[in-house]
């Protein structure tokens, strides 16, 4: 608590100086996520066009099974909820509870990645087997890269929320908010990806 109050004082001192302007980092992040989303939009457009125009070559294997990716979807959606819980806990100044929820979120993210790797190793086709296979790996791989970065971010946030000397508190909660927003974004992308790749 003492750390929190001292940080409170510090921030009061900072906001009182005349040149301080509001924090626009979240706005910047949203703009960045729009840009990132456009990268995925490009990939989706490519995949859908391939599907519409390019027939699967004879004796090319491209079969996907549903159970594992459905589990993945549930894992990611759950992790979005747990991240939200972590943010709430930080707002209520329960640093310990926040940390626990963050660990759960990171755990779910890692579980997603493991499950994705399992899927990769059990699929009957490889990266260069055919056009659809390549697109499948490129899309899920690019998304997996995002999940990996997100999981690392969560662990950094987890490290920095430790009390009493952590840097992220309910006063300076931007890093957590940023990671949370990014994580929700990555989940949202997965849902679209799941629909386009597995269900369509």
């Amino acid at each position: 608590m003492t750390a929190v109050s001292s940080l409170n004082e510090k921030s009061d001192e900072l906001t009182s100086t005349k040149e301080a302007h509001a924090d626009h980092r979240l706005f910047g992040l949203i703009t960045f996520l729009i840009a990132d989303g456009m990268t995925f939009a490009g990939f989706f457009a490519a995949y859908l066009t391939f599907k519409a125009v390019n027939p699967l070559l004879p004796d090319a294997i491209y079969e996907l099974e549903l159970p594992l990716p459905t589990l993945n979807t549930i894992l990611l959606l759950l992790s979005s909820a747990t991240f939200h819980k972590a943010g709430k806990a930080l707002e209520e100044q329960h640093a310990k509870r926040c940390q626990n929820w963050l660990l759960v979120t990171a755990g779910l993210g890692v579980a997603f990645l493991i499950s994705q790797m399992v899927e990769y190793f059990t699929l009957p086709f490889g990266l260069t087997d055919n056009l659809y296979a390549s697109t499948f790996y490129a899309l899920t791989g690019f998304h997996g890269l995002h999940v990996t970065l997100g999981a690392i971010m969560i662990l950094i946030v987890w490290w920095q929320t430790r009390s009493p000397d952590g840097r992220i508190t309910n006063v300076n909660k931007f890093p957590l908010e940023a990671a949370e927003l990014y994580w929700h974004f990555v989940d949202g992308i997965w849902v679209i990806l799941f629909i386009i790749l597995y269900l369509l």
Binding site: A22, F32, I34, G42, V53, N130, L131, S134, A138, N172
Partner: protein, 554 residues
């Protein structure tokens, strides 16, 4: 309530940074230093790209490939296009003038994210050097700046991969810059400054940044897929492996058509700043200018396939993209007539800045007309991939953007340095550039109409004479750089002191010393709500002025 640590820590760290000329080589966070870094870095790449253009023109003075080997010609051509677009025009019209001017125009001390801003700049020199070094390592990319597969897959891989990596870095830099501009313009405005009171360049940069943020990532994704095709031998764009080359073209042009607007919209904004100052009249039709910028942004995102009329595009697509492209001529035409109306009846001082701006207007209308012509499928099918397209494109990006860059340098050099440029040498520079440019590119329309294909080192001997005329024009353009460089160097050393506001301009960058202090103004930032309030006192003001007055006061 959100916390406000960044601005304070930023201003503290700024004090620790070098202040002399060394700061231009440092990781400076000052938006003005970053702007100058962009400008000088871009200009150095312009000189390199210019030398490459000279090599192309020398090769094309004779029908045979006798100056360079064919594959070297392809490399030179690819490097020329990539350098001029990604390392000269895009960084300079956006990064250089944007970083320098936007914080002034919104009444801020710096950009919204100064550190991101510095990162965005420092991505450029390594990317550019990497691109150029690829020529000396294993041969540069040979597939043109479009890198169409299967050409880009079948030509030597090393150069193409280096090309992809450097374009990805430059794209990243561009996206970071775009995010920064959007945040600065929308979020950092002074209290009391309304959006519709902003100088036109802010609107142009807002529109450009929206295009950057929406379209550049698609290019990045596409190039990543292309690199998979080259390195891992996947078949996204490789027909022999079941892939589809047309998908690459769609994704590429989804970025690269907006890229033309990314190069030319900021130039529109800069011209709209320069003209009113030097003809002492308000900008004609402020609100129509704003709406036409936004219309160009919206339409610019849905016209890309007009580059692909010969790619087996289905008829409905041809129809749609022809109509959408023709529509873009409307907002562009509005802007053109507004500039002419701004000049109309003004007290024009004939100096280098306004000469280059007027040169822009003339060249741009020519490029615009050929653009509308190229949007028509029957015509486009005839001249596709000929020198007609080359001529059209250079009328837009050289006659358009580069003329504006020079105009802007003449206009803002006193602000950048506190010294005046020599106007007579500037006029010589303009005359050489204008004649050289038109001599170089106007004959290429004829070449294209008669069927000379672009991007090839050899051509039918019947085109020799016209190609030689074009090369003479290129020589004049090269020579025109000499008085310019002399003018810059001489004025930096011996130039007349400019004082804070040599043009008696009203926008807020002129309401401080030249060059401005680190945080732009000593004391409060001035609130400029009428950036174009020129000529209010004249009695015989003609109708455009009155109309504009009404607009500004409403």
């Amino acid at each position: 309530m959100s916390i406000s640590i960044p601005p304070n820590t930023e201003s503290n760290s700024k004090k620790l940074q070098p202040t002399g000329w060394l700061r231009y080589f440092s990781f400076s966070l000052d938006h003005k230093v970053i702007g100058i870094q962009y400008l000088i870095c871009g200009f150095l790449f312009y000189l390199i790209g210019g030398v490459l253009a000279g090599a192309i023109r020398i090769e094309l003075t004779s029908p045979m490939s006798d100056f360079m080997a064919r594959d070297v010609y392809n490399q030179v051509l690819t490097l020329h296009g990539t350098i001029m677009i990604f390392l000269w025009i895009v960084p300079v019209v956006n990064g250089a003038f944007g970083n320098y001017l936007i914080p002034f125009y919104v009444g801020a001390r710096d950009m919204a994210f100064p550190r991101l801003n510095a990162v965005a700049f420092w991505l450029i020199p390594p990317a550019g050097l990497m691109l150029i070094s690829s020529y000396f390592i294993n041969g540069a990319a040979q597939s043109g700046w479009t890198a169409y597969p299967p050409l880009s897959i079948t030509t030597p891989a090393a150069g193409q991969i280096i090309w992809i990596i450097s374009v990805l870095l430059l794209g990243g830099s561009s996206i970071f810059g775009g995010i920064n501009f959007i945040a600065t313009i929308l979020k950092l405005r002074q209290p009391g400054l309304k959006l519709m009171q902003l100088p036109m360049y802010c609107w142009a940069m807002l529109g450009t940044s929206i295009l950057v943020v929406l379209s550049t990532p698609v290019l990045a994704g596409t190039l990543i897929l292309l690199s998979f095709d080259i390195v891992a031998h996947t078949g996204f764009f490789n027909p022999t492996l079941g892939g589809n080359v047309i998908v690459y073209q769609h994704l590429f042009w989804f970025y690269s058509h907006p890229a033309v607007y990314i190069m030319v919209l900021p130039a529109f904004g800069l011209v709209s700043e320069i003209l009113p100052v030097h003809c002492r009249k308000p900008l004609f039709g402020y609100s129509t200018m704003v709406y036409s910028i936004m219309a160009i942004v919206a339409l610019g995102l849905i016209v890309w396939a007009h580059h692909m009329f010969t790619s087996g595009t289905p008829p409905w697509m041809r129809l749609f993209f022809t109509i959408a492209t023709a529509f873009i001529a409307v907002p562009t035409g509005i802007k053109f007539f507004n500039w002419v109306a701004t000049l109309w009846g003004g007290r024009i001082s004939i100096n280098s800045a306004i000469l280059f701006s007027c040169g822009f207007i003339v060249n741009f209308i020519l490029g615009g007309i050929t653009g509308v012509a190229l949007a028509q499928v029957p015509f486009d099918v005839h001249v596709h991939d000929t020198y007609f397209v080359v001529a059209h494109f250079h009328y837009i990006v050289y006659g358009g953007s580069v003329f504006v860059i020079f105009s802007s340098i003449y206009h803002w050099f006193p602000k950048f340095t506190g010294k005046m440029l020599d106007d007579n040498i500037g006029k010589l520079h303009f005359i050489l550039t204008f004649i050289g440019f038109n001599l170089c590119f106007a004959p290429q329309h004829w070449l294209g109409l008669n069927g000379m294909p672009r991007r090839v080192a050899e051509y039918d001997p019947q085109f020799t004479f016209v190609n030689q005329i074009s090369s003479v024009g290129a020589l004049l353009m090269a020579l025109s750089t000499l008085p310019f460089l002399w003018n810059i160097i001489n004025s930096l050393i011996n130039g007349k002191e400019s004082g804070p506001n040599p043009w008696k301009a009203l926008t807020s960058e002129w309401l401080t010393s030249s060059p401005p202090p680190v945080e732009n103004w000593i004391g409060e930032a001035p609130l400029v709500t009428e950036p174009y309030g020129y000529g209010h006192k004249t009695k015989n003001s003609n109708s455009p002025v009155q109309m504009n007055k009404k607009q500004e006061t409403s």
